[in-house]
């Protein structure tokens, strides 16, 4: 199975990444090489094998529902590209 340029355009949009028309062709060739290598795993029969998401089979721990963090808004917002009055500014999304 090989990807097409349309597939690259579609997944790039899903991933919010822009790829110029010039780069798209090179990216497509590389992705197809990578998927040709990935395909090797298809020859293994995995019927009835449970997917392994965590190497030690751990369960997600839940913590007690209580306040543990102190207010650090100013410190946490120090790296914001654009902020005002403790809010992150983005282009208008609701008209």
């Amino acid at each position: 199975m090989a990807l097409t340029e349309d597939d690259v355009t579609r997944i790039a949009h899903l991933a919010r990444i822009e790829i110029s028309a010039a780069d798209r062709r090179a990216m497509l060739a590389q992705l197809n090489d990578i998927f040709a290598m990935i395909e090797k795993m298809q020859r293994i029969d995995t019927t009835g094998v449970a997917p392994m998401a965590h190497p030690l089979g751990g369960q997600q721990r839940l913590r007690e529902d209580r306040v543990t963090e102190t207010d650090a808004r100013e410190r946490n917002m120090r790296n914001a590209p654009l902020a005002e009055d403790g809010l992150f500014l983005v282009p208008r999304v609701v008209e």
């Binding site: 899903l14 991933a15 990216m27 293994i44 995995t46 094998v49 120090r78 790296n79 282009p91 208008r92």
Partner: protein, 486 residues
């Protein structure tokens, strides 16, 4: 002064205890060497005033009667661990100048033990790579041969320990990013069991694989630092709630009667003769010390790379979705609307390798491909892990080469991602299984470049594994060899 600069963690701990050197003297010495060897491009951020303040604090703690084994010993951190006092970039343009509001747990644990941080280390962008050529801040040179890559992704960590600019450096391993660079630079690189080190404050790449570890001169040094670095962290949802242990306790265990598993799949086609020769003579050395070699098989290990290049990019595409130019990180200068802002910010901020992996990950998680790729890969991952479980019924540790060849040259694999990915052929299976593993220097191959021996042990058996490595390092001196000019 050069002998002091070459001393390892254990030795420096002794000298500090005997008051034969101070933390400030050590910090000054290494800061000067770091400056002198700037051409290696191993450090991304050095702030001598912060380092010296930490060193003064360590000396004051000593003066007040504290006596920790690591108090005042210098360390450098891979720029995957966030730090309050140095910029944290993951070697990416998207995080240029980012100042973290907190320290990673690993950083915090080692600071609590009194270690003095020399600065932040270059690596592949978001720890994605095997040669450090994916850093947005330039290549790191291999101290043994400046035409060779230092390995990746922890290339800054491997270079500084090989060049003795720091006695120890933190590193991270997702598919081989500690062991491969350690092998390429002739040092000891150790990845503990997945879940033992906290991932809190480690900039996420693939969360079910990311494991913090160390670059050191010896297994003994690694054990000493693990004692303070590893442990349960409630802030990491996959942190193992295991009791603290002394990782030095098996260092002096005899090798006599030890069963070393030798997987035939790791000595097959593609393994270069110079590497095989060095690894086989290391195995012979172990036999001489009384160990027994056992032929074992890890039949699904060869599928490690295909499985890894589904699982890791899938997790990466999800983890890297947080970089959207809204709350932190790079934002494009001009854009039309919110989606355009995110697209432009991400496209300008990420280099080619993260983009490639984000696209692979997005594809394998997308509708219609999830079962065929992502679920399938997680199933084969289990088969690989079961191979290891079976193997550890027949042997105590597994030994193999770390890489198929010695360090390659700059630019040799950059145009062919699949060739670059295969650099991790022997390290990825252990990562998928989550077992502790390490690389120890065992000789030199072509062009005088170092060769590494990989040791792997069952889950939670790192103390035993470090002991097996230590016995070899007591009997040989490969780990004491230094590149010229340092």
């Amino acid at each position: 002064m050069s002998e002091l600069a070459h001393a390892g963690v254990a030795e420096l701990g002794r000298l500090l205890r005997q008051r034969r050197v101070s933390a400030v003297e050590l910090a000054r010495l290494q800061l000067a060497r770091i400056e002198r060897h700037r051409d290696l491009n191993a450090f991304l951020d050095v702030r001598p005033e912060v380092t010296l303040a930490q060193a003064r604090a360590a000396d004051e703690r000593r003066a007040r009667g504290e006596d920790g084994a690591l108090l005042g010993v210098p360390i450098a951190h891979k720029d995957i661990f966030v730090t309050r006092d140095w910029a944290s970039t993951a070697s990416s343009r998207i995080l240029q100048g980012y100042m973290s509001p907190f320290d990673a747990t690993v950083v915090e644990n080692l600071a609590r033990a009194g270690m003095v941080c020399l600065g932040k280390l270059n690596c592949d962008e978001f720890a994605m790579g095997s040669s450090n050529e994916n850093s947005a801040y330039g290549n790191v040179l291999n101290p043994w041969d400046k035409a060779a890559v230092p390995g990746g992704s922890s290339g800054g960590s491997s270079a500084v320990v090989a060049a003795r600019l720091a006695p120890v450096a933190t590193a991270t391993d997702t598919g081989g990013s500690i062991r491969e660079p350690a092998a390429f630079t002739g040092i000891t690189g150790t990845k503990p069991t997945y879940g033992r080190p906290s991932r809190w404050g480690m900039i996420a790449f693939a969360s079910s694989l990311d494991t913090a570890g160390l670059m050191t001169q010896s297994a003994e040094d690694c054990a000493l630092v693990f004692n303070e670095m590893l442990g349960f962290d409630p802030k990491d949802s996959t942190s193992l709630d295991a009791p603290r242990e002394d990782f030095t306790r098996h260092l002096d265990d005899p090798v006599n009667g030890l069963r070393i598993g030798v997987p035939k799949e790791f000595f097959g086609e593609g393994l270069k003769p110079d590497v095989e020769r060095a690894v086989r003579s290391a195995l012979a050395e172990y036999e001489k010390l009384g160990a027994r070699l056992v032929d074992i098989s890890l039949p699904n290990a060869e599928l490690g790379i295909p499985v890894y290049y589904v699982v890791a990019p899938a997790e990466a595409s999800s983890n890297l979705a947080r970089f959207d130019g809204v709350r932190y990180g790079h934002r494009a200068a001009s854009y039309d609307d919110l989606i355009d802002m995110m697209k432009k910010s991400r496209s300008e901020g990420f280099g080619p390798e993260p983009k490639r992996r984000i696209l692979i990950g997005t594809y394998v998680l997308s509708h219609g491909y999830y079962d065929a790729y992502f679920i399938k890969a997680m199933q084969v991952r289990r088969l690989i892990a079961e191979d290891f479980r079976r193997a550890f019924g027949q042997c105590d540790v597994i030994a193999s080469p770390v890489t198929t060849s010695v360090a390659f040259g700059f630019g040799e694999k950059t145009t062919d991602p699949v060739a670059m990915y295969l650099a991790d052929l022997y390290t990825v299976p252990g990562s998928l299984a989550g077992v502790p593993s390490m690389s120890i220097p065992c000789g030199f191959g072509e062009r005088g470049r170092p060769v590494g021996l990989q040791l792997m042990a069952d889950h939670m058996q790192e103390a035993r594994m470090l002991g097996v490595a230590h016995r070899y390092q007591r009997a040989t001196d490969w780990h004491c060899r230094l590149p010229e000019g340092f």
